[in-house]
């Protein structure tokens, strides 16, 4: 196999070298490997690791360490927030609101709520992919309990107006959950200033390990949620299980590094995006699915006249996504892109290029050239238009 060129940072990222270097000190026999719930010396060392990490993550969100619940990742955080809040508040009302352009972890949680008898309003995006505050305001009812809207879309990079959405929700006494898996550590977030109640994050999108995430829970009156599972009483019973202190410490360090390099990263990604867009600008027949105002690390483009799977193969050794990563193993055209108005052909021919801290100009140039060549090749062998 040729050495892969990885442009799929929106799916997952490699672990930062500084974290890899620190891990033995957290995992190994002479590290802080103990159970942080144990009262003995080794347990307290592990607890200290967790406390530091909680401060690091909290300071990136603008919250208190005690407002974080550690989970296995954003999928679990999304479900804990959505199922947990809706089920807890079901006695007050059973209307909940989201968008079809959310991540599967959110849309599938809402489909579960539908099966449980909740009434879900699916708000369509404006043509730019954003939720209009007017549409949201109209959707809120007296029995609305929960709204869930993502910050940055994982397929297109569209950024929602979370502060605006949050005010809308707070005005009406509705809980707001935000899936910030793609924005945490990359765009400023301030849950102290934005009236958000629940917010999901995950380490593996910011050069931390896979398998650890968190849910911010404001804890203000009325924001309580039901746990997904039960056990040893850890984390106030909201999310039990032996705390994986080394993973949490890694998440904390990843958050601290992300905060420190947020502006640098953003500039880097903006420059890469411009370079890539410039390089593919003259390719005919492309539809650009990522708005200029979107997160610069994601460029989604589609060609409706080529087969998506063949395009992926022709792009090798480029590692990019067709549809979202979780969809790529199946073969459905992305529901998110369909909701943005693409037809099936355009959606299945979409490629998401996503860049990261390690991405170089050379890789961008290689990707653009490869994309150009792959499209040319597939178009060349395709039959003419008259079918």
């Amino acid at each position: 196999m040729t050495a892969p060129v990885y442009l799929d940072y929106a799916a997952t990222t490699p672990v930062d070298a500084r974290i890899v270097d620190a891990l033995p000190g957290w995992l190994a026999a002479d590290g802080a490997f103990a159970n942080p719930s144990s009262t003995h010396i080794a347990g307290r060392q592990a607890a200290a690791l967790v406390a530091t990490a909680a401060e690091q993550v909290a300071s990136v969100l603008g919250c208190e360490p005690g407002q974080l619940v550690w989970t296995s990742g954003a999928t679990e955080s999304d479900n804990l927030a959505i199922l947990g809040a809706a089920r807890y508040r079901a006695v007050r009302g059973r209307h909940v609101v989201t968008m079809p352009t959310e991540h599967k972890a959110v849309t599938d949680a809402f489909r579960q709520l539908e099966r449980e008898g909740f009434d879900v309003t699916w708000l369509a995006p404006s043509p730019d992919g954003r939720l209009s505050l007017e549409a949201l305001r109209q959707a809120l009812r007296d029995d609305t309990q929960l709204v869930s809207i993502m910050h940055v879309n994982n397929e297109t990079g569209v950024v929602q107006d979370i502060p605006g959405i949050a005010s809308c929700c707070r005005d009406r006494g509705v809980l707001l959950h935000v899936d910030a898996a793609q924005s945490f550590g990359k765009l400023p977030i301030d849950v102290a200033a934005w009236p958000v109640d629940l917010l999901s994050i995950t380490a593996h999108k910011i050069y931390g390990p896979k398998g650890i995430g968190a849910l911010y829970v404001s804890g203000r009156p009325g924001s309580h949620i039901a746990p997904l599972f039960h056990g040893g009483g850890q984390q106030g019973g909201l999310r039990p299980g032996t705390l994986p202190a080394p993973l949490i410490a890694a998440f904390g360090l990843a958050a601290a590094i992300a905060a420190d390099s947020m502006h640098r990263d953003h500039d880097h990604l903006s420059r890469l995006r411009k370079r890539f867009r410039d390089a593919i600008r003259d390719i005919p027949g492309l539809r650009h699915n990522s708005p200029d105002a979107g997160f610069p690390g994601i460029v989604n483009v589609s060609a409706g006249d080529v087969d998506g799977e063949s395009l992926m193969l022709a792009l090798e050794p480029l590692c990019v996504a067709s549809g979202s990563a979780c969809n790529s193993a199946r073969h459905e055209p992305s529901g998110v892109l369909r909701a943005l108005g693409l037809d099936d052909a355009e959606a299945q021919g979409a490629i998401r290029f996503s860049f990261g801290r390690q991405t170089t100009d050379r890789e961008i140039d290689f990707a653009a050239a490869r994309y150009r060549a792959a499209l040319a090749k597939l178009r060349e062998i395709a039959p003419g238009d008259a079918a």
Binding site: D305, V306, D307, E309, S310, L313, A314, A329, L378, E380, I381, A382, P383, G384, A387
Partner: protein, 115 residues
Amino acid sequence: MVTDPYSAEVRRLFAAPAHAGTLPGAETVRAVAQGVDVELSLARDGDRVSALRFRARGCPHFLAAAEALCAGYEGRPVAELRAFRAAELVERLPVPIDKTGRILVLEDAVRSLGA
């Protein structure tokens, strides 16, 4: 989770589709179904296949199958081409079970050549 869905054979055929193209003035058929689209052109030399070309849009297995078909029947009797069965390529490449319908589209196209 995915292991490599493409055999070395599929990769080879996909990477170098030497028989992609159209034979000007030759007998040409087109089949569009199941999300794939294929055009075959056949040039004969008596009852032999002197040249066979394809154009196609579809997944890698489908493109590889079209290439394998064209490469495999050039120089052979047209009657043998007519007797082409999708199953033979499905097994050889191989093509995953959920895609065999597409290879049948190729079989249909062959069947309608000179029909």
